[in-house]
Amino acid sequence: MQKKLLILIALIFCGLQTSLAQTKPWMTQLEVGLLGGKTKNLWDEKTNQRTTFSFSAFHGKEVIRNQVVGIYLGVDHYPSVTLIPIGIGWRGFLGKKSGPQFFGGLDLGYGSTVLEKVDRTDWSSNWHEAGVLVHPEIGIKLPAKRGNWALTASVGYKRQPTYYFEGAHTSADSKPKIPLFRTRDVLPKGFSSLNSTSILYHSLSVQVGILF
C-alpha cells in the first residue's frame, strides 16, 4: 500500500511540475492537514476521537476573475480505510491579489479505494467501497513577499461515506465477482450473505498549503 501511495504522490508532483511551466491563469494548490472527528463503536457505543492525515492537490484555471475551477486529487486516511479522493474543485478569492485574501473552496468527488486490498478466500470476500465526498472550506491566502506563490490556511468540513463488505460465497468454488459499486441491501450474485458496515465520516479539516 505504501508503494502505491508513493507512486501516487510522485504522479501528483509530476503533474504539478507541468503546471508550473504554464503561464497564468492556471493555479495549483497543495494542502496537507488533519481530519478530525468523533466516531462510535458499534458494539459498546463508546465514542472515540479520531485524527488522521490528509493531503490534496488542486489544479485549476481562473475562469473569471478570482474564480478558479479545476480538478482535485488527494489522499485521505481514515481509521478504517485510506482513500484516493478524485473529483472537481472550485476556489473563489476575495480581495486584491497583491495582498492577503480570503478564499472559499468546494471539492466534490469520489473516494476511490484502489489502495485497499480485496481479501478473498474460497468461502468469503471482504472489500472496501466509498461514496461521494463533499468538502467545503474557507481559508486565507498569504502571498509571499517575493515570487509568485502564497501560503494558505483553511478549515472545512469533509463528508465522506465509506463501506466495508464481508460477503460469504454461495459455494467454495463460486468465486463471485466483486460488485463495482456499493451494493448495500442487495445481495450480489454468488453471495449467500453480506455483512455491510457503513461509516459516514463527518470530519473537520484543518489544512495548510502552498499556492502557485
Partner: protein, 415 residues
C-alpha cells in the same frame, strides 16, 4: 491588512475545533434464506387455474419432454409449455400457473403436477386449450404443519437486518440452491421423459412420486382419473427416482434403493446400495446403474465420483468401478453413450459400453458448456445450465452442436 485577518483566522479555527463532528456508523446483514409461508389449502383450491399466455422463464426447475413439447417448471410458480418440434427454435406457447408446483409428469396427454399437497391432472390433448380435469386432494401431506392444519412452504427471500444474529434464531437458513438435480426418467411410449429431481415418474400405469422420505403410488390406468394408492416410507434423504424394467431406482443421499415394481401398486424393496453421504442422481440400463456422487450444498463429503454398479442381480448390487469426476451433477444415458453434467466444469460425453474403461472412452469434454442437468431426448440433448435451457444435436456424441438456448432471467447458479 495582515493584522485584521489573523484574529479572524484564530476565531475561525477555534470555533471549528469546538464543532463536534460525529460519524454515523451502521451495520446491516443481508442474507438469502427460505422464509416459511403458511397457507390454507382451501384458499389455494379456491383459486381458478387458467392457462396464461407465454411468459419468460425466470428460474427453471424441472424439465420434461413429452412428444414434441418441452415442459419447464418454474419452481412454485407453474409450468411453461414450449413447442419443441424444431429443437433449433423452441416456441413458447403458454404458461400454466400452479402454486407450489415442483414436479410434473405426462401420461397419454394427461399432465400430472403437484399443487402443494394436491395432485392435479391437466388434459393436454389440445395444447391450445389445456384444462384441469382432476384434483386429488391431500396426497403430499408432508407439507401440512399438523399443529395448525396449514401448509408450510418456503420462499426464497433476501432479507436485510440490522443485526447478523437474529436471523439465525428466527429464520430457516436453508440455502435455496440446495435443491438437488436428478435425472431423466426413461419412459415407455405413452409417457414423457422427465428431468431434474425426477421426483415424479411413470411406469406400468402408475405414477410414483417421492418426497424427501416417502414414495407415493398413484394408479393412473385411466390417465385422467389418478387414484392415490398408498405411501411407502423410504427413509430420509430421497432425491431422485428412475424407473427401469419394472424396477424403481431411487437415489438418496446415502445410497441407491432398488424396488421391485412388478406389482406397481405395491413396490417391494430389493436392495439398498449404501455409500458415503453424497448427492447422487442415477441412470440405469439392463446391467448397470450409473450414479454420480458430488460434493457441494448438502452433499458435504467432498466426493466427486461416477459409480458404476452391477445390477444384474438387483438384490445384490455391487460396485463395479468408481471414476473420479470434477463435480458431476445430472447424467443421462442414451444407448451406449453416457452424458455427465460436470457443473461449472462443463459437459462430458462417454462411450459407456465398456464399463470398466469409461474414463478411457471419454468422447468430448466441453468446458465452456456449464451444466447442471440434462435429458437425452429423441431429437436433442436438453441441458440446463447458466445459459438457460439449451439444446444440442448429439447425433455425434463426440461432437455436440448447439441448436438453441432458451434464455432465462434468473439463471441457475452452477457450482
Amino acid at each position: 491588512m495582515k493584522n485584521r485577518f489573523i484574529p479572524l483566522l484564530v476565531i475561525l479555527f477555534g470555533s471549528s475545533l469546538l464543532f463536534s463532528c460525529m460519524d454515523e456508523v451502521n451495520s446491516t446483514y443481508t442474507f438469502r434464506t427460505m422464509m416459511p409461508v403458511y397457507l390454507e389449502m382451501k384458499d389455494v383450491r379456491a383459486k381458478l387455474i387458467s392457462v396464461a399466455p407465454a411468459q419468460e422463464i425466470e428460474n427453471p426447475g424441472k424439465i420434461y419432454l413429452y412428444k414434441d413439447y418441452l415442459l419447464i417448471n418454474e419452481p412454485n410458480q407453474g409450468i411453461h409449455i414450449y413447442d419443441n418440434k424444431n429443437p433449433a427454435n423452441p416456441i413458447n406457447l403458454s404458461f400454466i400457473p400452479i402454486e407450489g408446483n415442483i414436479d410434473l409428469a405426462v401420461n397419454s396427454d394427461i399432465l400430472y403436477a403437484d399443487n402443494y399437497v394436491d395432485l392435479l391432472a391437466f388434459d393436454l390433448s389440445n395444447i391450445r386449450n389445456i384444462r384441469l380435469v382432476k384434483r386429488v386432494e391431500d396426497v403430499f401431506n408432508h407439507l401440512y404443519q399438523h399443529s395448525t392444519g396449514k401448509i408450510i412452504t418456503f420462499k426464497d427471500t433476501v432479507l436485510t437486518s440490522e443485526s447478523p444474529t437474529w436471523a439465525f434464531e428466527t429464520m430457516w437458513t436453508v440455502r435455496p440452491n440446495m435443491s438437488l438435480t436428478s435425472n431423466m426418467a426413461k419412459a415407455s411410449q405413452s409417457y414423457g421423459t422427465g428431468g431434474s429431481m425426477a421426483r415424479f415418474t411413470l411406469m406400468d400405469g402408475h405414477l410414483f412420486a417421492v418426497d424427501a422420505s416417502t414414495l407415493r403410488v398413484f394408479e393412473v390406468l385411466n390417465p385422467a382419473e389418478p387414484k392415490f394408492l398408498k405411501p411407502i416410507e423410504l427413509g430420509w434423504g430421497i432425491e431422485t427416482i428412475f424407473p427401469f424394467d419394472q424396477k424403481l431406482f431411487i437415489g438418496s443421499n446415502r445410497g441407491l434403493h432398488i424396488y421391485d415394481a412388478s406389482t406397481p401398486a405395491a413396490p417391494i424393496r430389493m436392495a439398498v446400495y449404501e455409500h458415503v453421504l453424497s448427492c447422487d442422481p442415477v441412470v440405469v440400463n439392463e446391467e448397470y446403474a450409473f450414479v454420480t456422487l458430488r460434493s457441494g450444498n448438502f452433499c458435504v463429503n467432498g466426493v466427486n465420483e461416477l459409480h458404476v454398479l452391477d445390477i444384474k442381480d438387483p438384490y445384490q448390487p455391487k460396485l463395479k468401478k468408481a471414476y473420479p469426476m470434477l463435480n458431476p451433477h445430472g447424467l443421462g444415458l442414451a444407448e451406449k453413450y453416457l452424458y455427465v453434467a460436470e457443473g461449472k466444469h462443463g459437459l462430458k460425453s462417454f462411450n459407456a459400453s465398456d464399463v470398466l474403461n469409461i474414463d478411457k472412452n471419454q468422447l468430448e469434454f466441453i468446458q465452456s458448456m456449464k451444466s447442471s442437468d440434462l435429458i437425452p431426448g429423441p431429437k436433442s440433448l436438453i441441458v440446463i445450465g447458466p445459459d438457460g435451457v439449451c439444446q444440442y444435436d448429439y447425433s455425434n456424441p463426440a461432437q455436440l452442436k448447439k441448436l438453441s438456448c432458451i434464455q432465462v432471467s434468473n439463471p441457475i447458479e452452477v457450482s
